[in-house]
Symmetry: C3
Subunit: 195 residues, 3 copies
Amino acid sequence: MAGIAVFALEGALAAIEGNLDFFGVMVLSFATALGGGVIRDLLINATPPIAIRDWRYSAVAFAAGGTGFLFYDTAAHIPSGLLLTLDAAGLALFAVAGTEKALDYKIPPFIAMLMGTITGAGGGTVRDMFLNQVPMVLRADVYATAALAGAAVVVGARKLRLPGAVASILGGVVCFLLRMISVWRHWNLPRVGLP
Amino acid sequence: MAGIAVFALEGALAAIEGNLDFFGVMVLSFATALGGGVIRDLLINATPPIAIRDWRYSAVAFAAGGTGFLFYDTAAHIPSGLLLTLDAAGLALFAVAGTEKALDYKIPPFIAMLMGTITGAGGGTVRDMFLNQVPMVLRADVYATAALAGAAVVVGARKLRLPGAVASILGGVVCFLLRMISVWRHWNLPRVGLP
Amino acid sequence: MAGIAVFALEGALAAIEGNLDFFGVMVLSFATALGGGVIRDLLINATPPIAIRDWRYSAVAFAAGGTGFLFYDTAAHIPSGLLLTLDAAGLALFAVAGTEKALDYKIPPFIAMLMGTITGAGGGTVRDMFLNQVPMVLRADVYATAALAGAAVVVGARKLRLPGAVASILGGVVCFLLRMISVWRHWNLPRVGLP
């Protein structure tokens, strides 16, 4: 739930900076926080998606987004380091939980890793598409890749028959640290440099 | 079905003004008229969506879109007041029907309101994204909010144990009137004014 | 599987030309090759989609996309005629297979034709939307229309009680030839010419 609130707040700030109105802010709060999980649930056939079946998910997202709208001046001054850290923690939580849910639904491990990645990075992708931008995760930073690494650790640890809690913690730590280090060191993924 | 035709015609006009070809006009007719309902059905697990299970929905959408294509000069001269009124009526129908369908599928009332809103406003959102624009409903006007208000009235009236037909009519009237008044008075939702 | 590889390679090239990073190249390879089939499977309720249930589909897409990334200089010099021909063959395969799968799932024939079209042309549409462009299939060329024609032939041949294999081959040949001729003759669909 804390992860949902952080992602929703970030969605609200992006919406406000995109000059959307209050309804747009609410939509982007929902989409950023819950879009990844909704897509994952549709793909693994866990329907209706949990964010549709249980009203508390969207209530948290709307509350966080509404807070960002009402107190934008304060929210815009949250230190970026704090927001990045909270976001990395949310990413780790989402990636691990998404991978485990896909495994529970008998999705092959390789695909379960992709589902964890979508859970973590899908919401931001939907947000960027609503704002008519090429999604940031496709262009720069080590973000979805950190989610993928965490998901891979979860899958690998389970293959090694480590206890589930250990797999979760290991995966979450790897995702979080990889994300934080990559921000700190300004890492980017390789690309083909066109002239 | 009348609502589908109006929405499809509006999708066709937007497609033509976006310089799409005949296939693009047909896709936008379908997406504008039926996209909201398809997304709702996927989310509430009423699958396959009714617009996929029953060919008459898309036939109406394509017929209206094709008419808009063939007789663009006439269609483009439909008085904007008439088109706005028909669109508001379609929005009211879609919002009420979408909310009721979600309730029938045991979706929590709060989420059912969102499903009614998506049914009404989702098609236009998809249309705008195909045309590479930030969706209008996120930016201006009281459109999705009117759908949400109508959906809330349906949910509220049912909670008060009013007969289903009364709940539907009340919800539809509220949505329609709120939409018409907001156009007439040039209402917009609040936004955070960035310098 | 050959069709998946061709579409994935085209997605990778588009991603590289859009200056995406390695993760973006992988996402567009997957989306271009498998996006149409995933959307079809969600719509016809064949869930989880085959590309999620069976890891080999995405493995082929990632392998082809990764090859395009590593050997971009070579891939970018594949003669455009060869790529167009392979793409037309992939389109024909996807359109026929998508139509038949929809019919197997008891989707009405008219809608099954649309599902075949989405299978063939949906991936490229998703790719263009990720790259923040109005999808090419909505604007120019005879592409989705060729898929639709092939799908219609499959449906028609089955109505005439021709053997399934004959229907498939006829549909595939019609789609392939229509696509190739339309490229050669620079055919476009009609549009309403706005001043």
